[in-house]
Symmetry: C2
Subunit: 452 residues, 2 copies
């Protein structure tokens, strides 16, 4: 894969973990990047002279970027408007009124910019997102330099970007034609849920996704109430209902998957459906616990996601991995459940598989995209170190990420984003926060900042 | 309280949260520190000229330091030697053999230094610790500049610092005479548990603690097995057993308190016994869930602790607060359980009460000790901000802490410890890690560092 012009970036020194969850970290010699791809991975250092930009990773760990498989990134602008509330009061009292008033293309662009900053500074190199006006989320991801699966939201109800009920097909057509064609972006579709999307909508969306070689996402079996609703409406559980519609399959991604029976888990496994686990959001909204270990045992590919910043309320994948492991141990009463290596794999290679991108990302191999993070190990909370996976899952922090490369481009260096003006984005976020706060009658603490 | 010489430190600008959980954050004018204490808290700024050192807190939040109510700090040197194991295999296969071989005064000093660094950089200003050779933990806390309750461990079995079974009384006497007399240090005693300390030991330790006006700690009702053991041995549950021994009371601190009945919670409440909740350790070891909401309803004072770094595996109190809230919502199936304000109070003022220090720390009031943290709010993951408590619990990170003052002394400035040489401590930690790794036959990844 080496381009004739030689490497653009050379990483040297440190430790490297090429296949998280499968292999262990080892001392690192040299890895090179050409044309956005890994040309060489951990080859011996033969010379002290290196081509292109050299990044010295002494005292650091080199590993694949983390993959956040579920987000509603633009909702960073609504983070903390209301918390500690039952789902319905939270949605109907705060989230839906705010979205109805404020969610427009600029809101989506700005909110996604803030979330992309948070994610990339914390070692996330790819995220899957579902929301409205999604061509604007794609633009934000490209500007910050993140790889993204941008899934246009579909509901039978009116939405901020499809104000007439049922007009989602026009919106999807507009999205597919407006979405930037960029190596970082994969367009997709997101049917909100079996209770907000009818059978025709699901089947039509699945056809459209198939036509465009795109993934179809949906929240599935998130709450008890959803299961009861769908059973009352269709005489089937949500998974049975989706199977009956012909929607399950390798390019269908079911998010949450909490309240499922053994038979439904078998249906998911047999169909090759992917599952995304969002432990912190599930805890915060008191939704329940996904039977992740059982799903994995059946051969289901399970990725990890944060869910949106308004129901988590952070996009920190280190913490999300830790919560996935701790939550599994608690509910199974087994301290061996979801061990550090399993969880690390779920956030890297399994996540890549869940998004159909395992040929490009999820591990560090020659020919794969250069989505690489460099973690500073020279921290009190990581000293000493006997087990790299254990430290990554149980002790490391998003703020330990020093450098981030996506598609061979350095997007974070020394803990600072290099592609965008972070101060300008934060100031814009605080200004928008002022408008939102006035509408809801809540406080805008951002007003104390000098830029507002 | 203003000393005649005028303030030594003046904080200006930003937001201030004087009573976490009770009051909201408000814009901050000026606060001053004299003789280690808060002289003025949020008074109007009358002049642009300030006495002493001036700390500009623009775009920051000023709040009381966090209090970590349970730790075995020196065990940072054993963090990650083994994880994802049942408690007994973890203890007998790794922890006890390592402690038997390596735990000496230098181990305790070095391990506690590493943990103090981690804690103070993450906004912890006071911690309660239980381990061996505890005068050395006290020395470490003083060097880094942390306030500490250092509780000498007591077991009927041989321990690293009392090698003859039953010789703990000599050790306690040595500890009490060797423990540095310092305004930062409160000596205390720690009976390991009702299953490793017999009735005589508990009663004698309680008498000694009382004589020295010191707290007595114990792990209580951490596992099902403990409850069964104690019931088999004494015909009573652990709480009933301790009540029968006359040990419960306002200066007894029960750590974990997971497997308790309504009647036992009443005993704890009626006796004024304090409880420490360690959610992440309880999850990681699959121990279970403390009924925190029920305890608080009964009037029990509940503080939050991380437990030791080998069973958590971090000392990040922001994350611990978040886990306390998320875990409570999950197990009660109620998203209103342990809301952000409740959890914040548990880590500040309630924690101070649990350690008998509410007259000195836990809130920012004139006359109280100047244990103050300054949190940088100018971060993507905290932008915008509608609710300070929500952001602190659900979105903020240890790495957002910019400055830390303990007893009026600046111990962290701009995210760097000011009292000690961080690099020297980490290098010593890596060297010690090499010895421990060789003994256990595990890898010492610290060997890749240039200093080892």
């Amino acid at each position: 894969m080496t381009a004739p012009t030689g490497p653009e970036i050379t990483l040297i020194n440190g430790l490297i973990l090429t296949h998280p969850g499968l292999k262990d970290a080892v001392p690192h010699g040299r890895s090179t990047i050409c044309g956005g791809r890994l040309a060489e991975v951990n080859v011996p250092v033969e010379s002290a002279l290196f081509a292109g930009q050299v990044i010295d990773c002494a005292n650091c760990l080199i590993m694949p970027g983390l993959i956040n498989c579920h987000n509603h990134a633009a909702m960073s602008l609504l983070r903390g408007v209301a918390d500690d509330l039952p789902l319905e009061r939270w949605l109907n009292g705060y989230i839906f009124p705010s979205e109805s008033k404020h969610t427009d293309p600029d809101f989506v662009h700005l909110g996604t910019m803030l979330s992309c900053l948070e994610m990339v500074l914390g070692g996330v190199t790819t995220f899957a997102d579902g929301y409205f006006f999604m061509e604007n989320a794609a633009r934000a991801a490209i500007e910050v330099g993140l790889r993204a699966v941008v899934a246009q939201g579909i509901l039978d109800l009116p939405t901020p970007d499809a104000r007439a009920a049922g007009s989602w097909k026009e919106r999807v057509a507009d999205f597919l034609s407006a979405c930037p064609q960029d190596p970082l972006i994969s367009p997709a579709l997101f049917c909100h849920s079996p209770y907000l999307c009818g059978p025709d909508t699901f089947q039509e969306a699945a056809r459209l996704a198939d036509d465009h070689d795109a993934l179809l996402f949906s929240h599935v079996c998130e709450t008890h109430r959803e299961v009861e609703d769908i059973r009352a409406r269709y005489g089937r559980t949500p998974v049975e209902h989706l199977e009956n519609l012909g929607v399950l399959g390798p390019s269908f991604v079911a998010v949450h998957v909490i309240h499922v029976s053994d038979e439904e888990m078998d249906l998911l496994a047999d169909s090759g459906t992917k599952v995304i686990h969002c432990p912190e959001s599930n805890m915060k909204l008191a939704s329940g616990v996904s039977p992740v270990r059982e799903l994995i045992k059946r051969g289901v590919t399970v990725g990890i996601g944060t869910d949106g910043p308004a129901s988590n309320n952070n996009l920190d994948l280190f913490e999300e991995m830790r919560s996935a492991s701790l939550m599994a141990k608690l509910v199974t009463k087994d301290p061996e459940a979801l061990n550090s290596r399993t969880v690390l794999r779920m956030a890297c290679l399994d996540a890549a598989k869940a998004l159909g991108m395992e040929d490009r990302i999820g591990s560090l191999e020659p020919g794969k995209c250069a989505d690489v993070i460099v973690i500073d190990l020279d921290r009190p909370h990581l000293t000493p170190m006997y087990d790299v996976a254990s430290h990554l899952i149980y002790a490391a922090r998003a703020s330990d990420v020093r450098d981030v490369l996506v598609n061979g481009k350095v997007v974070v260096r020394g803990g600072r984003a290099t592609s965008v003006d972070e101060d300008r984005i934060k100031a814009a976020g605080r200004a928008k926060g002022g408008q939102i706060a006035r509408g809801l009658g809540v406080t805008n603490f951002g007003a104390v900042f000098k830029d507002v």
